[in-house]
C-alpha cells in the first residue's frame, strides 16, 4: 500500500493539472521538474494545462495489472494537449474501446483512477473523454 504522502504530493499535478513553465525558454513541463530538459533553466512559473487535445498513441489493455481487473478492456493513450504537452491517460466512457484511433479529439475530465484495497486510499486524476 502506498503512503498517503506519496499520493498527496502529486495532488497539484493529478487534481489540478499544474505544470511548470520555464521562464527562460517557455517550455511547459508536465510533471514539473527542477531543471528544464530543453535549456537547463531552473526557474519556473506554475501554469495549468489546457484540457483539450487529441490521441497520439492509443491501445486497449486486455490483460490488466493488479488493481485494474474490473476495468478491462481498458482504453488508454498518449494524448497531446492543445499546447503541445503530452501525457498518458485512460480514455473513459467508450462503449466500444476498439473505436479509439490516432487523431481522435478528446478533453480531460476529473475521475477516480484506482483504489488501494477495500479500505485504502482512493486515487483521483484525469481521464480523457472523446469529443
Amino acid at each position: 500500500m502506498e503512503s498517503p504522502a506519496r499520493s498527496w504530493r502529486e495532488y497539484p499535478q493529478r487534481y489540478r493539472l499544474e505544470a511548470a513553465k520555464c521562464t527562460k525558454c517557455g517550455k511547459v513541463l508536465y510533471p514539473p521538474r527542477v531543471v528544464c530538459p530543453a535549456c537547463h533553466g531552473r526557474e519556473f512559473e506554475t501554469v495549468t494545462l489546457p484540457r483539450d487535445g487529441h490521441v497520439v498513441a492509443p491501445t486497449v489493455v486486455r490483460v490488466p495489472p493488479t488493481g485494474f481487473e474490473e476495468e478491462t478492456p481498458l482504453p488508454i493513450a498518449v494524448v497531446e494537449l492543445s499546447n503541445g504537452v503530452r501525457l498518458m491517460v485512460q480514455v473513459a466512457d467508450m462503449a466500444d474501446p476498439m473505436e479509439l484511433k490516432i487523431g481522435d479529439p478528446v478533453h480531460l475530465e476529473f475521475r477516480k483512477i484506482q483504489q488501494d484495497g477495500e479500505a485504502g486510499l482512493l486515487f483521483y486524476g484525469h481521464k480523457a473523454v472523446r469529443d
Binding site: 502529486e10 510533471p31 497520439v56 498513441a57 492509443p58 491501445t59 486497449v60 489493455v61 486486455r62 490483460v63 490488466p64 495489472p65 493488479t66 488493481g67 485494474f68 481487473e69 476495468e71 481498458l74 488508454i76 493513450a77 498518449v78 503530452r86 501525457l87 498518458m88 491517460v89 485512460q90 476498439m98 490516432i102 483512477i113 484506482q114 486515487f123 486524476g125
Partner: protein, 386 residues
C-alpha cells in the same frame, strides 16, 4: 584499456521452473560457465537482476549468491536497468577487466518470475515504466509497446502479419535451442488468432514470463588465449550504453528507439564496425514490434523496413542478417535480468561455431542488443573472433 575476452558461457534450461529457487538456478548457470572456462576462482561477480525484491522478497542478492557458490569473500555487485540489467552486469564486468581492477569476472543474470501470480508479475514489470505518470493509469508493458506499434503502423504501414512473421521466425529458431522455454512450431495464423493482449499485440507477439539464469566468464585477452586450447577466442570489441526518456509522453517520435540508436552508434564507433559488418545478432524482442524497431535502430534496415524484412525472411537463420538464432526472448523466454547475459552466451557460442543445428555459418562478428523497459535504456555489444 586492456583487451577483454569471453572464456566461458553457461546456460540452464529456461521455463516455468517451479522446482527451482533463484539461488539454485543461478548457481547452476554460474557453475556451467566456470566449468566451460575451466577455472574455479574469480576476482569478482556481477549479477544482473531486475527486481528480486518484488519477485521473491529478497534484496542484497549479490552477496547471497557469492555465498551460494561457496565464494563468500569475493567482491560481488548487482546491476539494475530493468530488462537490460543483464547486459549492464556484462558491461560492468567488461569495465573491471579492461581497466585492470579485476582479472577474472563471473558475469551473471537471473530472474525468478513465477513465485508471484500473473497480476503481480505484470505489476512488477510495470515498475520499469514511469510509476507516477504511466503505470498509475493502468498501462502495462504490452500496452506501452502496443502504443509504439500503433504509431509505427500508422507512420510506415507496418502490418500485424509482418509482426507475426517475427514470432514465427523466433519460434522456429527456438525449436533448435535445447535451452529454450518453448519448442513450438507456429504459423502466422496462430499468431493472428491468439488472444489480444493490448491492441494490436496478440499473445504470440509477446515474450513470456520465465524463470532462468545465464552466466559468462571474462578474462584479459592474453589469459584467454592461454586457456582456449583449440577453441576460437571471442573478444569484446564494442560496448555502448544509452538512455532515453522513460515516459513515452516525453518522446518526440514513438516510432523510433533513440536509446538503441545511440548505444549502437557508440558500440559501432568503439569496434570500428558498421551494421553491414555484423554476421549475427541477438536483439531484445520482448514484443514482435520491438524486434522490428530494434533492427531499424541498429541500422540493419531503413526506418519502416524492419517489418517487410522480417516477412521476407531477411532475419531468418539463413537470411541476410540472422536475428535471434537462439529463439530470442519470444521462444527462449525472458527472465528479465538473465536475458542480456544469455544473449552474450548465444553470440559467443555462435562465434565459437558450437551452436549445433542453429549455427549461423561463418559467423565471426556478432552483436547483442538489450533494452530496459519501453526503451528507456539500451546496451549494444559487439563480439568478434580473434
Amino acid at each position: 584499456m586492456r583487451e577483454v575476452a569471453i572464456i566461458g558461457v553457461g546456460m540452464i534450461d529456461w521455463g516455468e521452473l517451479w522446482e527451482k529457487s533463484l539461488r539454485q538456478m543461478w548457481a547452476e548457470a554460474a557453475l556451467a560457465a566456470l566449468d566451460d572456462a575451466g577455472i574455479d576462482k574469480v576476482d569478482l561477480i556481477t549479477v544482473g537482476c531486475m527486481s528480486p525484491g518484488l519477485f521473491i522478497g529478497q534484496e542484497h542478492i549479490a552477496s547471497l549468491l557469492a555465498d551460494e557458490l561457496g565464494m563468500a569473500g569475493v567482491g560481488a555487485t548487482r546491476t539494475e536497468s530493468a530488462c537490460a540489467s543483464g547486459s549492464l552486469a556484462f558491461r560492468a564486468g567488461f569495465a573491471e577487466v579492461a581497466s585492470g581492477l579485476s582479472d577474472i569476472v563471473l558475469v551473471t543474470g537471473v530472474e525468478k518470475m513465477t513465485d508471484v501470480d500473473g497480476g503481480d508479475a505484470t505489476y512488477t514489470l510495470g515498475t520499469a515504466a514511469d510509476r507516477e505518470y504511466e503505470a498509475f493509469h493502468g498501462i502495462t508493458f504490452p500496452g506501452l509497446y502496443a502504443m509504439m506499434a500503433q504509431v509505427h503502423m500508422a507512420h510506415y504501414g507496418t502490418t500485424s502479419r509482418q509482426l507475426a512473421a517475427v514470432s514465427v521466425k523466433n519460434h522456429a529458431n527456438g525449436l533448435l535451442n535445447p535451452h529454450a522455454q518453448y519448442h513450438l512450431k507456429i504459423t502466422i495464423d496462430d499468431v493472428l488468432n491468439s488472444t489480444m493482449v493490448a491492441d494490436p499485440l496478440h499473445l504470440f507477439d509477446c515474450s513470456p514470463i520465465t524463470d532462468g539464469a545465464a552466466a559468462v566468464v571474462l578474462a584479459p585477452l592474453d589469459k584467454a588465449k592461454d586457456l582456449a586450447g583449440n577453441r576460437p577466442v571471442v573478444k569484446v570489441t564494442g560496448s555502448g550504453l544509452a538512455t532515453d526518456t522513460i515516459a513515452l509522453a516525453n518522446r518526440k517520435d514513438l516510432a523510433k528507439l533513440h536509446a538503441v540508436e545511440l548505444a549502437a552508434e557508440r558500440a559501432y564507433a568503439m569496434a570500428g564496425r558498421t551494421p553491414q559488418d555484423i554476421h549475427v545478432a541477438e536483439v531484445h524482442d520482448c514484443f514482435t514490434i520491438s524486434e522490428v524497431m530494434v533492427t531499424e535502430a541498429l541500422g540493419f534496415f531503413e526506418p519502416g523496413q524492419g517489418g517487410p524484412a522480417a516477412e521476407r525472411g531477411l532475419t531468418a537463420l539463413n537470411g541476410k542478417i540472422p536475428v535471434n538464432p537462439s529463439g530470442g526472448l519470444k521462444s527462449k523466454g525472458h527472465p528479465v535480468g538473465a536475458t542480456g547475459v544469455a544473449q552474450i552466451a548465444e553470440i559467443t557460442t555462435q562465434l565459437r561455431g558450437e551452436a549445433g543445428q542453429r549455427q549461423v555459418n561463418g559467423a565471426r562478428i556478432g552483436l547483442t542488443q538489450n533494452m530496459g523497459g519501453s526503451g528507456g535504456s539500451s546496451t549494444v555489444h559487439i563480439l568478434e573472433v580473434v
